[in-house]
């Protein structure tokens, strides 16, 4: 006697499940093969100086990448990889845990060179005048996209269910997943 509501409930559940399926899949997938378009050619023109300063910023005009980092920001694994690379390549050396230091703060999203994934990507790839080194050629493109995703998570620009939780380290500030987009913090260079 109660079939119509049941059928409705059924369809609702189905719809919910399928939408869940989509987000869950892209959120949780771990692609272990290297993307075919992944270029990491060495950079003959710029000699490497040190691990912290792989190369001076490039003077040639900024080239934005084709894509906008699709498949990286909505994937928890890639964001986590980005967090690891942020630690490995000592980004904290200048940007601290996002609070900023020698380099600008990253926990607000008011960025001099734009906060779009593509802009962050080219900032990392090509470097910026007065400090930000160019990692192009020293990092493979998927690594840079992973870093980009993580850097954006630091200012709460990512979905909460892909942004990282706390690290197994001393806590500078709250976990990325707990952050909301903040307005620019005055004084942060």
């Amino acid at each position: 006697m109660r079939t119509p509501p049941l059928r409705m409930a059924g369809t609702a559940v189905l719809a919910l499940a399928s939408s869940l399926a989509l987000c869950a899949c892209e959120r949780e997938m771990r692609r272990f093969e290297t993307p075919p378009d992944n270029r990491a050619a060495p950079r003959p023109e710029a000699p490497r100086t040190s691990a912290l300063q792989p190369a001076e910023a490039r003077s040639d005009p900024v080239r934005l990448p084709a894509g906008n980092g699709e498949g990286y920001e909505d994937n928890a694994y890639n964001v986590a990889q980005g967090k690891r690379l942020y630690r490995w390549f000592n980004c904290a050396g200048c940007h601290a845990q996002g609070g900023g230091g020698m380099g600008p703060a990253l926990i607000d999203d008011q960025w001099r060179y734009g906060s779009e994934p593509a802009q962050v990507f080219s900032t990392i790839m090509q470097g910026r005048p007065n400090g930000m080194p160019s990692f192009g050629g020293h990092l493979s493109e998927d690594q840079v996209w992973q870093l980009t995703a993580y850097v954006r998570s630091m200012s709460g620009q990512l979905r909460k269910d892909t942004a990282p939780g706390r690290a197994d380290a001393l806590q500078a500030n709250e976990p990325e997943a707990a952050r909301d987009r903040e307005p620019a913090r005055p004084g942060a260079k």
């Binding site: 706390r166 806590q171 709250e174 976990p175």
Partner: protein, 201 residues
Amino acid sequence: MTAPRRELDVSALPSYAFGHRSLMWWGTFGLIAIEGTIFAIAIGAYLYLRSQADSWPLGAPPPDLLWGSANTLILLASIWPNQKAKRAAEARDLVRTRGWLLVCLLFALAFLVLRGFEFAALHTRWDHNAYGSVVWTLLGLHTVHLLTDTYDTAVLDVLLFTGPMEGQRFVDVSENALYWYFVVFSWLPIYAVIYGVPRLH
């Protein structure tokens, strides 16, 4: 030879009773065993983390005694109305049961309000360090029990005022009081750990 059918007539037996004769008592006993174990293990975790740390508490002064102690007193005092309610229930005196249950409820609410101040007086947050995490967990666990038992008492009292009445309700009141005693007495070791252990040297 096997005996002829002979019936054991139980129709005259009581249909409810207090204490361990009632099924409710055993249900409550089970809950108390579970919750007690959880508290014990949480305290164990606290002491374990302390044993791993060079200094304790980590990066915070010991919590202020004021609110915690005040709460302990209120909680101990709340035994009295509970005992009254239990007695009244076991005497099947509906009016006095209602009344005393109401008093218990007031105690519980007062306690919950103070509990808020208690959290503030911990001087740490769950996400500061392991000490903060475990203290908040201990206090949080106990608060959850308070909340549930308070809600339970409230529902029961509303039922006594409005709902259909039968003897079994008195048993429920009596078991509710039993559970409240557990909430009270489980607090004492937790109080000792949260407020005492950080002051040990």
